[in-house]
């Protein structure tokens, strides 16, 4: 770091390098936030979470009973102990519009916080008006929905929905109906992901161990099926030796990370559709029929991207391109199901089946110094050896 400072002063390094390297270092120092916590409003295990893209402020979370909560994560300056309040919620099975089964996926509309979508095991995909907290559109599927994803594209407003019967349905929010289906997977589709770079490219992962790339304009067959062995082991291409449970593109859309029930992570080069063969080690988790959500650190806050992967009740942090395990976040009491990163601050939100959403932050050390000045705190942190002993 000192070296870097000197280089920067000498003008050897570019302007953005120093903060990024600093931030990257910070990712390894994440710990449970001492002075910020979420309001305790979830009664059931959390299944899905997303922070809105536009303002990085509102955290959307869904639970196993079909409830949806929106919480405000804004940092309030000058408040010692801060509770992030629940600003809106819809309890499951209470109103006709609310979900009756477990929420499987929640997504904000990429361009606005006025809309969000929710898919559930009750076979419906719902589009919500955030301000009114009511459903404006309801897509009914024939089988339970495991996942869906909203395209970040500008030219279209399509939503890809992965269901239990192995069909990916493309729903159009403009027309309020499904435009077409993509049929190739033989088993339930566990994860779908739009490419951030190409707005017509869709990646889908399924329980038949395959990851397929689709051009949604050409629905007859997928573009390519990813092969973990890069074609060295026959024609049958499988991406994992188990169900494919999670997919995530890097922000630039050049790489794809996949997670499977074989408890492995794989990094794929999108342009060559080849396995990058990076060993992340075994990541134990107990997901089987549930999408495995994981998250990448934002490029604006990291010199090298880091991968935050839930593993049972912990969250492991890996360097994306080396596969090195950097640290582990311990704090939940049962398996972590969802995770999201605030790209404004170095802050991570994790939701777990123990009904809690935790805030992990890297700025605790600074707070600690300020806090230690307080007399009450110092009592807590002091050793109290008595002379009798």
């Amino acid at each position: 770091m000192i070296q870097l400072l000197r280089d920067r002063r000498a003008g050897l390094e570019e302007e953005w390098t120093l903060p990024k390297v600093y931030a990257t270092h910070k990712w390894t120092q994440l710990s449970l936030s001492r002075n910020r916590e979420f309001e305790r409003s979830h009664d059931n295990g959390i299944t899905s979470m997303q922070l809105d893209h536009t303002s990085q402020r509102y955290l959307l979370s869904g639970t196993t009973d079909g409830s949806i909560f929106i919480q405000d994560t804004r940092y309030q300056v000058g408040v010692a102990r801060q509770t992030c309040p629940t600003v809106a919620f819809n309890r499951g099975s209470t109103t006709p519009s609310s979900h009756t089964h477990s929420i499987s996926e929640l997504k904000w509309y990429p361009h606005d916080t006025g809309i969000f979508t929710s898919s559930s095991m009750d076979k419906t995909l719902r589009i919500w008006d955030t301000n009114e907290m009511c459903v404006v559109e309801n897509f009914k599927m024939s089988t339970p929905i495991y996942t869906h994803d909203l395209a970040k594209a500008i030219k279209h407003t399509l939503t890809a929905v992965g269901t239990k019967d192995g069909i990916v349905t493309i729903c159009d929010m403009n027309s309020g109906s499904s435009s077409h289906i993509l049929k190739r997977h033989k088993k339930p589709v566990m994860t779908v992901q739009w490419s951030p770079s190409d707005e017509y490219t869709l990646a889908t992962g399924s329980q038949d161990n395959q990851i397929l790339f689709w051009d949604i304009r050409k629905t007859r067959c997928p573009l390519v099926s990813l092969d973990q062995h890069n074609g060295s082991q026959g024609k049958n291409s499988t991406a994992h030796n188990g169900y494919v449970l999670g997919l995530q593109f890097t922000t630039d859309g050049l790489f794809l990370i996949s997670s499977g029930s074989d408890q492995r992570l794989r990094l794929w080069d999108v342009s060559s559709t080849s396995n990058m063969l990076i060993n992340y080690g075994r990541i134990p988790h107990s997901f089987k029929n549930q999408t495995h959500h994981f998250s990448l650190t934002p490029p604006s806050l990291s010199f090298t991207p880091h991968l935050l992967v839930p593993s049972h009740s912990d969250v492991s942090i890996y360097e994306l391109f080396t596969g090195r395990n950097v640290s582990k976040l311990k704090g939940h009491y049962s398996s972590v199901t969802s995770i999201d990163v605030n790209s404004n601050d170095i802050e991570v939100y994790t939701g777990s089946t123990d009904n809690t959403v935790l805030i992990w932050t890297a700025v605790n050390s600074i707070e600690l110094n300020t806090e230690s000045k307080l007399s009450r705190q110092s009592v807590i942190y002091n050793d109290t050896w008595s002379d009798e002993d």
Partner: protein
């Protein structure tokens, strides 16, 4: 120095955690604290070691470890940081989130202690250590630990408990309602019964008064109508009474009863018929069944009570007593237990009013019972006296015990009840019965069969029922049957088989009228299975067990574990050495070096004597969990549910199935191909 200190710390912790004591040794604890105080690296060491101990599958170790953790947690910041960094693990191991290992007592204490400490920790340090708070919240909200009451039962458990309680409550209410209805229904019956008894008492009392003359102004009854009557009865002479009472009931009673009443005095003259008529009369009263019927009976009794006609009087009393007895039985045998049950339920449910009612009823019944007990003795005495006074009269019916009176009365119907009375008659009465020509005994005696009626004993000693009464009382009896009827008959009993005529008009084959041998045999023979009597085994196996006790099995010949049962002394050593030496020769030749005396306790089945192994347990203070697991159930389970045994049995069953398939369905291609 450093290493020495470390080894000492580890040693101290081990002794502390494996002591098995519910509380810690203060001295050792002080030592650890001192070490931790001097250097923070020791804290880390202690923490690592304690976390290892806390994960041991032994609740006593866990408890001791947690107690040390608790003490250090209160002292050291570093230790607190260490503990809170991996709070999950500690909570899982200590708070009973996952089932705690045995022994149970220690586990329960561990749970209690840990929850208490957690609460304390959070109150004291919760602000500074957010993970501690998370753990607390987790326990509180997810695991539903009630920290105020400190009961950590899972949500399901609590729900189940509530359900059980509500179910119990509902059941109690339902039951109570049922009982309430039952009581409402039956209370009049009981009261009626009591009233009847009361009336009977009233009737009987003056009769005793007259038979054993006492002062005449005895308070007899409460009922106004009766009291006036009885007063008048006591006041006037008997002859007058007849007229008066015959006249008075007709005014307020039903015609049938008056008929019965008026007939009664006529019957008294002819004693022989009195019994049958009495029955009839009884039936009449029973048919009308009401209380006033019995009230109406009052005059009849009093009228009949003429001093020189004792028998009639007794006869009449008898029916009255029978009624009374019946009511008494009903009250004591049926109603009293029922009322007791009600009282029990009402007490359980806390129903004051109903309870009071039930208790009142019970008191009434008990009063009646007491009255009866008082009276009954007199009544019986009186009866006996009367029996002796009347003397043996041929025409008088035999003095049956009153409770068989109904059966006795119905003995007028010739055959159907004969068997019943035959069963019921006590042995001593046989002669009386035999003298009565209407009884089956008499019939049998006519055939000379009475001697052989006790069929199971050889005919030798049973010369007469009277002489061999002691034997007949001990002899087994068999119910009377056709074979006894034909007993000793040299002639083959004949049977007239009837043809089942078919009703249609067409020709049909001549019915086969021969009687099969079996049927004939069943007329003269009876097969009685003799299973012998159960003889309990007195001696037990008493072979020495590895536990030091003696085998308590009681088998007849051979103990399945220790072989043939032989006499043994108090230590379980076989007494008969000859048998021993035979069975032990094999072993002795094999192990000649074993310098054991020839009559060492060795099982007759050739089991080797286990030398007491001086296996020193590593931690003598701890409860041996493995020993706890050595329950009879586990032992048998390991034998019966053994993998090999199961495989063997399965194989055998499969083979049986296959064989069956082969023999039965060999022509079926499915089976033919499979086997």
């Amino acid at each position: 120095m450093e290493i020495e200190a470390r080894t000492e710390i580890l040693k101290i912790i081990e002794t502390l955690t494996h002591s098995g004591d519910p509380s810690l040794d203060e001295k050792l604890m002080k030592k650890i604290k001192n070490y931790c105080r001097t250097n923070n690296t020791y804290v880390q060491l202690v923490y690592d070691r304690l976390m290892r101990d806390v994960a041991t599958k032994h609740s006593e170790v866990r408890l001791s470890s947690f107690q040390i953790i608790d003490q250090l947690f209160q002292r050291s910041h570093i230790f607190r940081q260490l503990v809170t960094s991996d709070c999950q693990k500690l909570i899982m191991l200590v708070c009973g989130v996952e089932p705690l290992p045995p022994p149970r007592l220690a586990a329960a204490k561990l749970k209690e202690v840990s929850l208490l400490s957690f609460k304390e920790w959070v109150e004291k340090y919760g602000e500074g250590y957010p993970k501690l708070k998370l753990g607390y919240n987790y326990l509180k909200h997810n695991k539903k630990v009630d920290f105020d009451r400190l009961t950590s039962s899972s949500e399901g458990e609590q729900r189940r408990q509530e359900e059980r309680e509500s179910r119990q409550r509902a059941f109690l209410e339902q039951r109570l309602e049922k009982i309430r209805v039952e009581m409402n229904e039956q209370a009049p019956d009981i009261k009626g019964c009591l009233f009847e008894m009361e009336s009977c008492f009233k009737i009987l009392m003056p009769s005793f008064m007259d038979l054993f003359p006492l002062n005449e102004s005895n308070p007899v009854s409460n009922c106004s109508q009766n009291s006036t009557k009885s007063d008048s009865v006591s006041a006037e002479t008997d002859s007058e009474l007849v007229l008066k009472t015959v006249g008075s009931p007709s005014s307020n009673e039903t015609s049938s009863q008056t008929g019965g009443c008026s007939r009664e005095p006529d019957d008294t003259s002819t004693d022989g018929e009195s019994e049958s008529d009495d029955v009839e009369w009884e039936e009449v009263t029973m048919a009308t069944g009401a209380i006033n019927g019995l009230v109406g009976r009052n005059p009849t009794v009093t009228t009949i009570r003429v001093p020189d006609r004792v028998i009639v009087n007794k006869d009449d009393n008898e029916t009255l007593i029978a009624t009374l007895r019946e009511r008494y039985k009903l009250a004591v045998k049926t109603y009293l237990p029922r009322i007791n049950k009600w009282i029990e339920w009402f007490t359980k449910a806390g129903q004051e009013a109903l309870l009071k009612e039930a208790i009142d009823l019970k008191a009434q019944v008990l009063a009646a019972k007491g009255k009866y007990a008082e009276l009954d003795i007199k009544g019986l005495e009186q009866e006996e006296e009367e029996d002796s006074s009347t003397g043996p009269t041929d025409l008088a019916p035999p003095s049956y015990p009153p409770d068989s009176i109904a059966a006795h009365c119905s003995s007028l119907l010739p055959w159907t009840t004969a068997v019943a009375s035959y069963h019921k008659t006590p042995v001593g009465l046989e002669e009386d019965l035999a003298s009565d020509p209407t009884t089956p005994q008499a019939q049998m005696k006519a055939k000379g069969l009475l001697q052989q009626q006790s069929a199971t004993i050889p005919p030798g000693p049973a010369k007469g029922a009277a002489s061999g009464s002691s034997q007949t009382s001990s002899a087994a009896t068999v119910p009377f049957d056709v074979d006894l009827l034909h007993w000793g008959d040299s002639r083959q009993p004949s049977i007239m088989p009837t043809a089942m005529d078919s009703l249609h008009r067409y020709w049909c084959a001549e019915p086969d009228l021969t009687v099969s041998e079996d049927v004939m045999a069943s007329l003269s023979h009876r097969s009685i299975t003799f299973a012998g009597t159960f003889q309990p085994v007195e001696r037990s196996c008493r072979a020495p067990l590895p536990s030091g006790s003696l085998c308590p099995r009681k088998d007849k010949i051979k103990c399945p574990l220790h072989g043939v049962i032989i006499p043994r002394d108090e230590h379980g050593d076989p007494i008969d050495c000859l048998e021993m030496s035979q069975s032990d020769t094999v072993i002795e030749t094999k192990t000649p070096a074993a310098a054991a005396p020839p009559d060492t306790p060795k099982g007759p089945g050739g089991t080797k004597d286990k030398k007491p192994r001086s296996k020193k347990t590593k931690y003598p203070g701890l409860t041996d969990i493995k020993k706890l697991e050595k329950t009879p159930k586990n032992r048998i389970e390991s034998k019966i549910l053994n993998k090999h045994v199961l495989a063997r049995v399965g194989k055998k069953l499969d083979a049986l199935d296959q064989k069956r398939g082969k023999t039965k369905f060999s022509d079926n291609f499915n089976y033919a191909l499979k086997s």
